[in-house]
């Protein structure tokens, strides 16, 4: 190999923050080439996906409402990832949270009052948390791998959604479409900027991320999460229970995903539909890593991924780029981030200038 790696004495802080930026830039560059190779206008695609959403002020509101669920879910997941708890079923917890809140909405559809919306949100948190408690229970009691159990539950959650939409929760006045009735005015998140689609969930997501940052960096709880993830034996020696940490991480991850779910149902959707799962739970994994599992980084990561979503839609209409293009760019970002991660602990010594990423 032409590249040699040399271990640094201490991990590089600069690289820790720089590598996500490098990953995004590398994705734009290599992605552009890749799409050119398969017969698209690659650099126009990169421009539409990554630049246009930032320049076009009309798209900013879309960025906000796309970033909010990603940030919320990713913050919850990042706490688990730090503790080495691999909850990758956030999509399922997001669905169940949305369903739980919808349940409250359907029960109260004839009522009005300020209390309905908070109740829906609480139901969302509890729904997501309960759904995440299944893998937590299986992990702590039976040592079942949480990656597999949480993921399997996602597929089950999708079927639960389909069942409710086609059966018990179908709108009786909805011409037999498999979807619920529309939420009433007490059940939808209010707009916070008049004339836009930006709902209350957006600032709340940002606020929760900031609170999470404070808790993770200043509290013994945050310390506990980090120790359990870095050195389980040391955590036990320090007096931290691994099982309780797994429970906390799963419940927070599930609760945040559930909250994102009900925000999404009571915000952009204003009802529950079979198309509700849009993959936010999976994309949030990328957001969590891109944000270095740090809540502030996750806010930035969430915005980057929101750009790619909004940009993907723009490119679909303006360039006829397929729907999957945004997903490929998103996966590439994660690949590049993981590939450049080694620069935090190692120094590159190049014998000949040759880029490592050419192969992909």
């Amino acid at each position: 190999m032409l590249i040699e790696l040399e271990k640094r004495k201490e991990p590089s802080q600069a690289m820790l923050y720089l590598t996500p930026v490098i990953a995004v830039l590398a994705t734009m560059f290599v992605g552009g080439i890749l799409f050119s190779l398969i017969g698209h206008n690659g650099f126009a695609a990169v421009r539409e996906i990554f630049i246009t959403p930032l320049i076009d002020t009309h798209k900013w509101q879309d960025l906000g409402i796309k970033a909010a669920p990603l940030i919320l879910i990713a913050v919850g997941l990042s706490i688990g990832f730090r503790a080495n708890v691999w909850n990758i079923g956030a999509e399922g917890q997001y669905i169940v949270g949305g369903l739980a809140g919808t349940g409250i909405a359907l029960l109260t559809w004839e009522l009005e009052g300020w209390w309905i919306l908070p109740l829906m949100c609480i139901a969302g948190v509890i729904g997501g948390g309960l759904y995440a408690s299944i893998p937590a229970f299986l992990k702590t009691k039976l040592n079942v791998n949480e990656i597999l159990s949480s993921l399997m539950l996602t597929y089950a959650a999708i079927q639960l959604l389909y069942y409710l939409m086609r059966g018990p929760w179908k709108d009786p006045e909805g011409f037999n479409f498999p979807q619920t009735r529309l939420f009433n005015d007490s059940q939808i998140l209010p707009e916070i900027i008049p004339g836009t689609i930006v709902h209350l969930g957006v600032p709340l997501a940002f606020l929760i991320a900031i609170i999470a940052w404070f808790v993770m960096s200043k509290s013994i709880f945050g310390f506990q999460i980090r120790v359990v993830g870095s050195a389980p034996a040391a955590a036990r020696y320090g007096g931290f229970s691994a099982k309780r940490t797994i429970w906390a991480a799963m419940l927070i991850g599930g609760g945040f995903a559930g909250l994102a779910g009900i925000f999404e149902a009571a915000g952009p959707f204003q009802q529950m539909v079979p198309q509700f799962p849009t993959g936010y739970g999976f994309t949030a994994i990328i957001v969590a890593f891109l944000g270095r599992l740090h809540p502030i980084g996750i806010i930035l990561g969430g915005l980057v991924l929101a750009v790619s979503y909004v940009g993907g839609e723009i490119a679909q209409t303006s360039l006829g780029l397929p729907n999957a293009a945004a997903g490929i760019f998103q996966a590439m970002m994660l690949f590049f981030l993981l590939a450049t991660d080694i620069l935090v602990k190692y120094r590159l010594k190049l014998n000949l200038a040759k880029q490592a990423g050419d192969a992909s």
Binding site: M1, N145, S149, I285, F289, A324, I328, A331, F335, D341
Partner: protein, 307 residues
């Protein structure tokens, strides 16, 4: 129940089991070498779409399969480079590979949606393959026989050959293997490549045999079930075969229930069965004592030799 119903149930179960058996065989070898590749689903999708596209274009199933295996192996090498050479986190990289596989397969597959090809069916003469009783032995796609042969092959390789011994040693203690002088990284690259090829083969089974067509996310989470199957089998190929057929039976419940007219069970519940059953099975096997001993000791641990 008549013979024909039993025979058709056996055949659907084996049909549904084969792709997860193939993928799980690959993953078993990967995990035995100490690597956890969560990207099976992504590699399967790449295999499925490439196999379909090549077969549709050329008309040759075998060519489609070979190129599909090559493509999925290539994607496995990307995983290997990141996790083995650059020591990236295996869990995260595997997830990235799955997300990437989903994206790239739906991009590549877009022109092929809605098209169909000739099924890759049995090579035995029709008198055997379509015989009302004997088809239970002769009526399968060649890939089914390949999967059985590979099960025995992998089992023999791990138990009886020197290369298999070295592979297990690398998964058991990377440091020991390195200090005796084996190339830990080299062995793991080879294992990951094999896992990639097998996932590609499994993907082809979906697009060339089971359906035979291409649609987005054709494999519908079966890659994850293959992962669970490896745990279920306690990393033993012979139990993999048993487990695959058991999972296959659960997965085809929906079909059988429909055929038998159990309309009072919600179809959504039946569709969720394979996933719920996987969880139940994982919970049950963890009740078994000393299951911890079965997992390769170095599973998912990065290795960086100092030079």
């Amino acid at each position: 129940m008549s013979d024909t119903i039993i025979i058709s149930i056996i055949m659907t179960v084996i049909g549904a089991s084969t792709p997860i058996l193939l993928a799980a065989l690959g993953e078993l070898v990967v995990e035995k070498s100490g690597v956890l590749n969560l990207g099976i689903e992504g590699m399967m999708l790449i295999g499925a779409v490439v196999g379909f596209a090549v077969t549709l274009t050329t008309g040759f199933h075998l060519l489609g399969i070979v190129i599909a295996m090559f493509a999925s192996t290539l994607s496995a090498m990307l995983f290997a480079y990141l996790t083995l050479t650059l020591t990236a986190n295996q869990v995260a990289t595997g997830l990235a590979l799955t997300i990437f596989g989903i994206g790239i397969s739906s991009l590549m597959g877009e022109p092929y949606v809605g098209k169909t090809i000739e099924i890759f069916s049995s090579w035995f003469p029709a008198s055997l393959a379509e015989h009302p009783q004997l088809r239970v032995i002769f009526g399968y796609s060649p890939l089914v026989y390949v999967s059985l042969a590979l099960t025995f092959g992998v089992s023999y390789f791990l138990k009886k050959t020197r290369a298999g011994l070295i592979l297990r040693a690398v998964g058991e203690s990377d440091i020991s293997a390195h200090s005796i002088g084996y190339s830990v990284i080299g062995v793991r690259y080879a294992a990951v490549a094999f896992g990639g090829a097998m996932a590609g083969l499994a993907g082809c089974y979906f697009s060339l045999v089971l359906t035979p067509l291409w649609s987005e996310e054709l494999t519908a989470g079966r890659g994850w079930i293959a992962l669970a199957l490896v745990v279920f089998a306690a990393w033993k190929p012979s139990r993999l075969l048993l487990g695959a057929y058991l999972f296959g039976a659960i997965m085809t419940l929906e079909l059988h229930a429909k055929a038998a007219g159990f309309s009072f069970i919600a179809p959504e519940l039946l569709a969720a069965m394979p996933y719920l059953a996987t969880i139940v099975v994982l919970a049950l096997i963890s009740l078994r004592k000393s299951s911890g001993l079965a997992a390769p000791a170095c599973l998912a641990k990065p290795f960086k030799p100092s030079t």
